[in-house]
Symmetry: C2
Subunit: 231 residues, 2 copies
């Protein structure tokens, strides 16, 4: 199987597209690079995979180092390996995407030095990105658009308690279209994966909305069914 002219070694990395939802906007986490290469450019948080480290582990580690968050919904997205994607040589990157709830906190504190800062950027208004990271972002957007319509990943982005309107806004932003309020509610509540709480919004100058939370147990049951396909 070896033909030496084809065999070579490559550096490989992971890059993470971390989605958050805040101020009514879908955002992704970018770092400002502190390296000679693409110095001061914005880039996706990414890093070398360790010699004795699984890829998934590397992705989780990087996310932790940048955000202090663990146990986050995370999924492999795609592997980008164009010959010329890295100016200094062949670097193959495995992209992951993650979705986190910001819970109101405005800033995440990186615990590593390999980025000068980490900031949330609205997806609508991204700066120019280093390497082929714009391609990676584009692909991850396609992915969550498709995924949201058959799996309720949107909940990962919302706070523990949320109103149906907040949920609908999020769907509208991800799918980039208006949804009908009554139909949306009917459909969502029909899935029977939301638990209505006793609590209501407070301090709003309009009729207070009920809070709901996501019922992961019920969801798992539903998703089992979804996997068994439609006859």
């Amino acid at each position: 199987m070896q033909e030496p002219e084809h065999k070579f070694e490559s550096i490989f990395t992971v890059d993470c597209v971390v989605f958050g939802f805040d101020e009514g906007e879908l955002k992704i986490l970018l770092i400002e690079r502190n390296e000679d290469l693409f110095k001061s450019w914005w880039a996706l948080p990414g890093y070398y995979v360790g010699q004795d480290e699984g890829i998934e582990h590397a992705a989780e580690r990087i996310l932790y180092e940048l955000t202090g968050l663990r146990d986050i919904y995370m999924e492999q997205l795609f592997t980008f390996g164009d010959v010329d994607r890295h100016p200094k040589g062949r670097v193959i990157t495995v992209a992951y995407f993650a979705m986190i709830r910001l819970n109101g906190q405005k800033e995440l504190k990186p615990v590593t030095s390999y980025a000068r800062k980490a900031f949330w950027h609205p997806i609508k208004d991204l700066p120019q990105l280093a390497f082929d990271h714009d391609k990676i972002v584009e692909k991850s957007l396609q992915k969550i658009r498709r995924k949201i319509s058959y799996q309720p990943i949107a909940f990962e982005l919302l706070p523990e308690k949320f109103t149906l309107t907040q949920l609908q806004n999020l769907y509208e932003i991800i799918l980039n279209c208006k949804l009908d309020k009554r139909n949306f509610r009917k459909k969502m509540l029909n899935y029977d994966i939301l638990k209505e709480l006793d609590e209501k919004q407070r301090g709003v100058s309009y009729r207070a909305a009920k809070y709901y939370k996501f019922d992961r147990r019920k969801y798992n049951r539903l998703f089992q069914k979804e996997l068994s396909f439609n006859k």
Copy 2:
């Protein structure tokens, strides 16, 4: 961004899961290895990615070398990089899957020497596979099961002309369940992506079935719509 203890180089490869449909069975193409490592074991066709070769290109090249086929539907599946997936060191592999029409030909001639032989194996009855290739096969099966229900990739497996019953059989085999004949036909024809041909089966000792072919132009229109999601 560099922290030397994390940076290292890895060999990387592509592996292809090539699906075919023949004798009423879903099959995948396996090679018999001719290397010291896993000698004489069955494995997915895979190979080192070249220094100046894109990953996708490598996948296409390998498929060509093993089957003589080009311009095949092919898609990146997943990247497998467990630390211990290769006994001789860290090898990361990008898996692709492909679907080809066998057109009645029983054998494909590899044009390389890195496999002793290449054979079609029924998916129901696979031999033990080298490395973690069983995991890769499992993942690709999940993928096509899901994909077939929102994209008509099944056509790639059938001959140019096919009967609705052949198409239904293929769906049943991939989805692993019985489908209702009338409902299946109604739904398929409703998609309006099949062209009815004048031709019929010949030489069969029962009522001859009409041949259809896949209308890629109409399909593309449909798929555009599908991508714009449901309000």
